[in-house]
């Protein structure tokens, strides 16, 4: 266990320090996220959709596409100068590498959210009222889902010819099912749908905030464990 902590800490700190020094990914992510939000805000003005209704969808679109940037970097930097071979030759369990990379991605997305969420609040005129805890929980669960799938597939696509394009296809396909409860949960938290009307009429969603949160927790748990177990097969030579 102690050995796990030592190797985990080494990889985790290495990745954070590299990002802090190079400042390659976070600025790109944040600017891309803000651009997506603004473009969608302009489009929403032209469409007949209510601005508040679009808020949650825009938030998730921004997270997904900016998250892809962070994940692509996770292993692309290791491929340069063949650092990945060094990492794999070190007496470290592949699962430890996965957990460290995964947590770095979660932290990058958290920093990104701290900047982009207020932008969404201002531009789309939404607020969470007293539901801060639920809001942060939903964002964190979404973060974990995007990062767990993204970290595994980032390692996978390094062996292919078209890295970035392939990564986005694979990650978005697997993440499709969680986007439905995630968007619904944010609609409830923003108060766009009153809780008593959820699931009726045009808001075709059966269940309440608890159902959506339960689904997201199950999704995160299943995929994080599956990806952690399968990571060893992806990187073995």
């Amino acid at each position: 266990m102690r050995y796990f902590w030592l190797s985990f800490k080494a990889i985790f700190i290495k990745d954070i320090v590299t990002e802090l020094r190079a400042k390659q990914v976070l600025p790109t992510m944040i600017v891309l996220g803000m651009l997506i939000v603004w473009v969608m805000r302009i489009v929403s003005e032209a469409s007949s959709l209510s601005t508040q209704m679009m808020g949650p969808a825009v938030l998730w679109i921004a997270f997904l596409f900016s998250g892809l940037q962070a994940q692509e970097r996770a292993f692309a930097t290791e491929e340069r100068e063949d650092c990945i071979s060094g990492l794999l030759l070190a007496p470290v369990d592949p699962g430890t590498i996965y957990i460290a990379k995964f947590l770095v991605n979660v932290i990058m997305l958290c920093v990104f959210e701290i900047v982009v969420v207020p932008v969404v609040f201002i531009t789309f005129r939404v607020g969470v009222g007293d539901k801060w805890i639920e809001f942060i929980t939903v964002l964190l669960l979404g973060n974990v889902a995007i990062s767990s799938i993204g970290t595994l597939f980032s390692a996978m696509v390094q062996l292919s010819r078209s890295r970035g394009a392939l990564l986005s296809i694979l990650v978005l396909v697997i993440l499709l099912p969680i986007m439905l409860p995630a968007t619904f949960a944010l609609l409830l938290i923003f108060g766009v749908i009153p809780e008593e009307f959820a699931g009726s009429g045009a808001l075709a969603f059966v269940g309440d905030l608890k159902t959506a949160l339960g689904y997201m927790i199950a999704f995160d748990a299943i995929f994080t464990v599956a990806c952690w177990l399968l990571f060893g097969f992806v990187v073995q030579e």
């Binding site: 078209s162 159902t211 992806v234």
Partner: protein, 218 residues
């Protein structure tokens, strides 16, 4: 053996088609006059749904088998079943679109089952794109096996997530006569044997191609 399967598949396909258009024909209710052909689509639509789910199951089993003992044959069977899954989910979605257009109006609408079948199609496509993107045979087989497992875990998650939406899709297939039940059973059997034949043939082709590649580069 393969000729026998070909013969059985052909016989089953012809018999089930003949039955579906004669004694097994689904008679539309009073307010659905003139849509018999569209209603008969269920003889292709439902078997395709069953078949594509089974193809994903085969993909999962062969993926696990490959990761456990690294025999290339499991990789070929997995790839062939993913191709079969793509074919049958395409049929499933296209027949679903025709049905939706006739009975509900729009070509596509996000209801649980339509969403589920669309995501199944995307999963099969993503698997094949990943396969096409990696050249090294061993790497390709290993990564595709990992994706096959993740894709299969995603299938029940899609089912549950889609069930959180309101449904207008007919829940279960009900039959008025015994002949309809017989022709439905036969159509399921014929589509399954067609899929088995397809997987068998494609596995052989993939294996021959891999052998050719090995000989060319060795």
């Amino acid at each position: 053996m393969r000729r026998l399967l070909m013969f059985i598949t052909l016989a089953l396909l012809l018999t089930s088609t003949w039955l579906a258009f004669t004694v097994g024909e689904v008679v539309p209710s009073e307010d659905e006059k003139g849509v018999t052909v569209e209603k008969n689509i269920l003889y292709v639509h439902v078997p395709s749904a069953i078949c594509s789910t089974l193809c994903f199951l085969v993909l999962l089993l062969t993926s696990i088998a490959y990761l456990v003992n690294s025999k290339p044959i499991f990789d070929y069977i997995g790839a062939a079943s993913a191709e079969a899954a793509l074919v049958f989910t395409t049929v499933l979605n296209l027949t679903g679109c025709i049905f939706s257009r006739v009975f509900w109006g729009p070509w596509w609408t996000p209801t649980p089952r339509l969403l589920t079948s669309a995501i199944l199609w995307f999963l099969a496509v993503a698997y094949l794109i990943l396969r096409a993107g990696i050249q090294n045979q061993r790497h390709r087989a290993r990564l595709c096996a990992v994706f096959g497992i993740i894709a299969f875990i995603d299938v029940p998650m899609v089912f549950i997530s889609a069930r959180m939406m309101r449904d207008m899709h007919p829940a279960n297939v009900g039959f008025d006569t015994a002949w309809q039940g017989v022709s439905f059973g036969l159509s399921v059997l014929s589509i399954l044997s067609l899929a088995a034949l397809f997987i068998w043939l494609r596995t052989d082709i993939l294996r021959s191609r891999a052998q050719l590649e090995n000989e060319m580069y060795s």
